[in-house]
Amino acid sequence: MIETFEEFVKRILALLFWFILLSPLIIFPILFLLVPIFGIDVTTVNEILTASIDPIKALKLVEELGLGPSSTFFKVVAFPGFTFAALVATITILYERKLIAKTQLRVGPLYAGRFEGFLQPIADLFKLLGKELIVPEKADKAFFWAAPILSLALGASLLAVIPLSPTIYIARSDFSLLIPFAIIGFSPLVVLIAAWASSNKFAFIGGLRALHQLAAYEIPMLISILGVVVLTGSFDLMEIVEAQKNMWFIIPQFLGAIIFYITILSELERVPFDLPEAETEIVSGWLTEYTGMHFGLLQLGVYIKFYVLALLFTLLFLGGWNGPAFLPPVVWLLTKLFFVISLIIFPRAVLPRLRLDQLIRIGWAWLIALSFINLFIAVIESSLGVI
């Protein structure tokens, strides 16, 4: 009898264990039957089979196939790439729920897993996988299916040029600061596709609001990071981080950091700028019609974007992987990333939502003016030789 989620996970792991244990009994005879028929060399069959139980041999085999830890494939798929980002995104969702609950004197997820509900993301995944994919009758079906995939693809493509340490990166580019922002510019398009394809008035209002928001925050976001570029004279994230060895850019570029933080909140559609998915006004905004794994993919795309923007804030203003040498650089980066993620999550627990006219006034009247002032400060600082 399965009563708790823990028992469910245990049962699935047990089934997997027995499958792995018993499958050779079926696969061995089949393989050795196939050897004479297709004329495969017996030694290669033996090697593959021994590798399946010997991890060192398996690693060697994987490296021979060109999929080892130093290969591009591994980088893109596993460590600095997609899987790692998805893992951080999942942990962020759990951490967000716990932190907001603590702030509001609640307990948050508690029952999945023995300690503070740490298995909740897996439970959510199973829930989303088990749900029906409902496509509205009058929806534009092709675009409705395209939006979740585009959202995830957009989030994943952001990871391409962002380094995690001097040695851990997927690709290096002289314009690695500009490329993520060029890709992020497409995100309102995904929102608009999802909103239009749903053929739902709440979704459509959400999509229009996202477009209005874009006009308010995109310009100050780009100008606020120009200050950093003026100080270092480079668009390369590696060089920007190297330039912060002595002083983090949050000190000379404090105004720029604050503007960038506010525009991150706006870009990620988080409180107090969550107009496109305002739950209390327009159901769930542009996400209204999405169910099951469609919704899961959209959320995953949004949270990978969250991870990337938090990472960019860390690299641009908090000195990236710079830190005392007793810890490896990646650990320093992830520590700072954790702090930035908390900072981005926190307003959702305490602040109310802005109106659209207030948002646009803040964007046009304050943030753009302040970001130009910040650029001016950066020019003065670089001419005085602060860095």
């Binding site: 702030t103 926190f346 305490v350």
Partner: protein, 166 residues
């Protein structure tokens, strides 16, 4: 105006951050029950009620005289007490009638306890009275005579900044 706005935002951040480190007061209900010391009782001689939880009633059948004062007290409030015939012989109860309470109507005001002159009808901390059938909400005198089992496994600890439990 903008100074006020910014100070308000910062104030909200500080309050939220302070809350993160506060102790939670969340009872995991089906697994945890709060320990409640006693139910509501009323001393007829001194005419004073003692503070306590107003839950299910407890009827001391050996003291009940069948005076039906509790039913009269209930008449214009919830009208949930009926005096019913009971089997057996009761030395204090010549008419053999005792109260039967319909918890589908009871409002747990405790006036029946105040009305009882023989200290035989009190209240207990039992509050899990839900039933799947409406008829099961009517508790007979013998059901009322059984003292509820103690379920409380979590103690409430009062503090100078509020209360918490372990």
């Amino acid at each position: 105006m903008n100074y006020k706005l910014i100070s308000g935002i910062l104030g909200a951040f500080v309050v939220g951050l302070r809350n993160v480190f506060k102790r939670r007061m969340t009872l995991k209900y089906p697994e945890e029950h709060l320990e409640i010391e006693s139910g509501y009782t009323y001393d007829a001689k001194t005419e004073t009620g003692s503070p306590g939880f107003k839950g299910r009633h407890i009827l001391y059948t050996d003291k009940c005289t069948g005076c039906s004062l509790c039913a009269i007290a209930c008449e214009n409030i919830a009208d949930c007490i009926d005096m019913v015939k009971v089997e057996g012989s009761w030395p204090t109860n010549p008419k053999n009638i005792m109260p039967q309470i319909d918890y589908g109507r009871c409002v747990f005001c405790g006036f029946c306890v105040d009305a009882c002159p023989f200290d035989c009808l009190f209240m207990t901390p039992e509050y899990e009275l839900s039933a799947t059938d409406k008829r099961k909400l009517v508790h007979t005198p013998f059901q009322l005579a059984v003292f509820p089992e103690k379920k409380g496994n979590v103690k409430l600890i009062p503090d100078d900044r509020g209360a918490y439990h372990d």
